[in-house]
């Protein structure tokens, strides 16, 4: 059954969702707890390295993060410009200090690690396997399937939105958000058809689930438990290494 690793999966894709969850929690915990820039850089490097090892093309991974990167840059600049304490490095026009730069870099790196590790998690973890893990962990199966159904609807809504926008173009309809009236028109012309499609789809899926006895019993057959393998060991080892480094950095006063 598909809860087992599939042939060809490598890196974090071959690891269990539980190991990936621990890795995500570890990365987020380390960058939130450790004030060290070196540790945060190491965490970011780990995310990129793991993405590459897991068969996620780095180019497309960075492209999917472009808004995150832009926002991180804004955070960095805002911090650097707003902090007045410390040794001034630039004083013409604006005052930039070493503390400001360090603080900006720290905040931007923290933001980047949290977001990029979450993106990596979504890239490499099969939602079916994640739901099975959550259900096995005690989450009621109806909620576990909510996750799968939500993901099932993502491509559907993307496709419907594209079709409705094309229908507007074909009819010569232009939508804008320049006035309240225009916003109302845009909502009606865009969201109503998409919503109607969504509701029709919900009806069909409800019939399909009911027709296959979903929700009839309090439990359902649990898929086979996944065994830990080398990829899980590597993911947990990575977390252990980062936590160890963070503790060492804290004791050694690394900044």
């Amino acid at each position: 059954m598909s809860e087992q690793r599939r042939t060809g999966d490598r890196g974090l894709r071959a690891a269990t969702p539980a190991a990936n969850l621990v890795l995500l929690g570890g990365l987020v915990g380390v960058v939130l707890a450790s004030p060290s820039l070196v540790i945060r850089l190491a965490a970011l490097g780990s995310v990129l390295l793991l993405a590459g090892r897991s068969g996620v093309p780095i180019g497309s991974f960075l492209r999917s993060l472009r808004f995150v990167l832009v926002f991180a840059a804004i955070l960095f600049i805002a911090q650097a410009l707003s902090i007045r304490e410390g040794v001034p490095l630039i004083e013409r026009l604006v005052r930039i200090t070493d503390v400001g730069l360090r603080s900006g870099a720290g905040m931007a790196l923290r933001f980047l690690v949290i977001l990029s590790s979450s993106f990596l998690f979504v890239h490499v973890v099969d939602p079916d396997r994640l739901a099975a893990t959550l259900i096995r962990g005690g989450v009621p199966y109806r909620y576990g399937y909510l996750l799968i159904l939500s993901l099932r609807f993502v491509p559907f809504f993307q496709r419907e939105l594209r079709v409705v926008r094309e229908a507007q173009r074909v009819r010569g309809l232009r939508t804008s958000v320049r006035s309240l009236k225009a916003i109302r028109g845009a909502i009606r012309y865009t969201f109503v058809p998409v919503l109607v499609s969504g509701l029709m789809r919900v009806d069909s899926i409800a019939l399909s689930m009911k027709g296959r006895c979903f929700g009839v019993h309090r439990t359902r057959t649990a898929p086979r438990r996944e065994r830990f393998g080398a990829a899980d060991g590597a993911a947990l080892g990575c977390v252990g290494l980062l936590v160890g480094l963070a503790v060492f950095a804290g004791r050694g006063g690394w900044t």
């Binding site: 059954m1 079916d128 009819r171 010569g172 296959r212 006895c213 009839v216 019993h217 359902r220 057959t221």
Partner: protein, 475 residues
């Protein structure tokens, strides 16, 4: 497992008349029954009632008796019915609940709390039965229409039902896919002694299965006949008036496509050269995924060619009617929908348009509350109202009964008689064969020419499902 219906009456709360009105019929164990009839005649309602969805999941007032396998549907737990009756909806994509093929097939047995070994066994067996074992690790969103249809059947087979209900199973399949599906259903029925109830408009290929045919109209059973006595009117000849066009085509071109190349991830259309003349109906046929809808999108300017040219000399505007009408409905009322493009209306103009679309008296009604056939007529009317010279139609006949098909055919012909042209994408091969002046068959090697020439080439290649004779009455 047999089905007995006695004086069945089903009335939805928001409708004037019952969807099923006093139906009485018996379907024997292991029998194959095809249910046909015009849109809104109660075919799908009958299936949903047998599957136990009415009134538990779909509210309606029910009277009469409906007995499946000796037990009244009204008094039986829906979970128990689901283990005996499998219902496959018209759009297979709309009933897939999970993200991977294997998980989808396991979904039902897992809900029954069966031991894991049995779930695995049922998954293997069901995937093998429909011939998609090789797809078990694929993502459900990556499957083609035909593969999704097989997956829907496999996921129902895993519940081991004794009765299989299929609601227009070929609506989204190309002719090859439909032919393969009919073969699969025949095998399943013979090997598993299943009772099959198939709602279908295209009857001719199903006759190989030796079914009984029930014809419904306005919720009533109007005709029933065995294979030997099928009335040609009920055989799927949905537009008896659609005779081959005899118009001599004008020389001026409304559309000229030269060396068109386009693809998404992989090449789809390669160096395609086609033209459409004033007054012409160009029929576009071909397998699922061969680029038929993409071609319409390119002509409409919604996509940009990778290479080649698309020219529309002298064409002011293009009308494009999508496959699903609800995508093109935006306003609160039918009149609002007709007025959406602006412009001055002459007195009585709306009434004339509504009458033309057989939508009289519906001007103030919310368009999304109309039936599928009415919505289709409305979207075609709104497209025609803009006065396009070139009209693009994407599968306009899906889910339409004979009356609606005849109306659409009349609009196409009138449009061409006024000097316009139509590019018609459809899987309805007999209709395309009868209507089109020229046919474009899209596949790896496209074919373009007069219908007899294109069909002769397809016949020589053994593509029998793309020939009108495969779908038409032999009586």
């Amino acid at each position: 497992m047999g089905i007995d219906v006695r004086g069945l009456r089903i009335h939805y709360p928001d409708r004037d008349r019952p969807a099923i009105d006093g139906l009485t019929e018996s379907i024997g164990d292991g029998e194959t029954v095809v249910v046909t009839g015009p849109s809104g005649c109660g075919k799908s309602t009958l299936c949903r009632a047998i599957a136990g969805f009415i009134p538990e999941l779909i509210p309606a007032r029910v009277d009469g008796e409906l007995v499946v396998g000796g037990a009244s549907v009204w008094e039986t737990d829906s979970a128990r019915i689901a283990q005996q009756v499998g219902y496959i909806q018209q759009d297979p994509d709309a009933q897939i609940c999970t993200l991977r093929v294997e998980r989808e097939v396991a979904f039902g047995p897992e809900n029954l709390c069966l031991p894991l070994e049995e779930v695995v066994g049922r998954v293997d067996e069901s995937l093998a039965a429909v011939g998609i074992d090789h797809l078990r690790h694929r993502e459900t969103t990556d499957l083609s229409g035909g593969e999704k249809q097989r997956l829907a059947i496999a996921s129902i087979l895993a519940m081991r039902p004794r009765v299989l209900l299929l609601d227009e199973p070929t609506a989204n399949l190309d002719p090859d896919g439909a032919k393969t599906l009919f073969g699969l259903l025949t095998r399943l029925r013979d090997e598993r002694a299943m009772t099959l109830v198939i709602v279908e408009h295209r009857i001719r290929p199903l006759l190989e299965m030796g079914p009984r045919l029930l014809v419904l109209d306005r919720g009533r059973l109007v005709r029933r006949h065995s294979r030997e006595r099928v009335d040609p009117r009920d055989m799927g000849l949905r537009s008896s008036g659609a005779e081959p066009g005899t118009t001599v085509l004008a020389k001026d071109r409304l559309l000229s496509i030269d060396g068109l190349t386009f693809g998404y991830d992989a090449p789809l259309l390669r160096k395609l050269t086609v033209d459409v003349r004033r007054g012409e109906i160009l029929g576009v046929i071909g397998p699922n995924g061969s680029g038929k809808t993409t071609l319409l999108r390119l002509i409409a300017g919604l996509e940009t060619p990778a290479a080649g040219r698309i020219e529309r000399p002298g064409v002011g505007s293009v009308g494009f009617v999508f496959q699903h009408p609800h995508h093109q409905i935006f306003e609160r009322t039918v009149s609002g929908e007709l007025a959406i493009d602006g412009g001055q209306q002459r007195p009585g103009e709306f009434e004339r348009w509504l009458a033309e679309g057989r939508l009289d008296g519906l001007g103030g009604v919310p368009p999304l509350s109309l039936s599928l056939g009415e919505q289709r007529r409305l979207t075609l009317l709104t497209a025609l109202r803009r006065g396009p010279e070139l009209l693009l139609l994407d599968e306009p006949f899906i889910g339409q009964d004979r009356r609606n098909v005849d109306w659409i055919v009349s609009q196409i012909r009138e449009h061409c008689a006024r000097g316009g042209a139509v590019v018609l994408v459809s899987h309805d091969i007999p209709l395309v064969g009868a209507l089109a002046h020229r046919i474009l068959y899209l596949d790896r090697v496209p074919r373009f020419g007069a219908p007899p020439d294109v069909f002769a080439e397809l016949r020589a290649e053994g593509r029998t499902a793309f020939l009108p004779g495969f779908w038409e009455s032999d009586g």
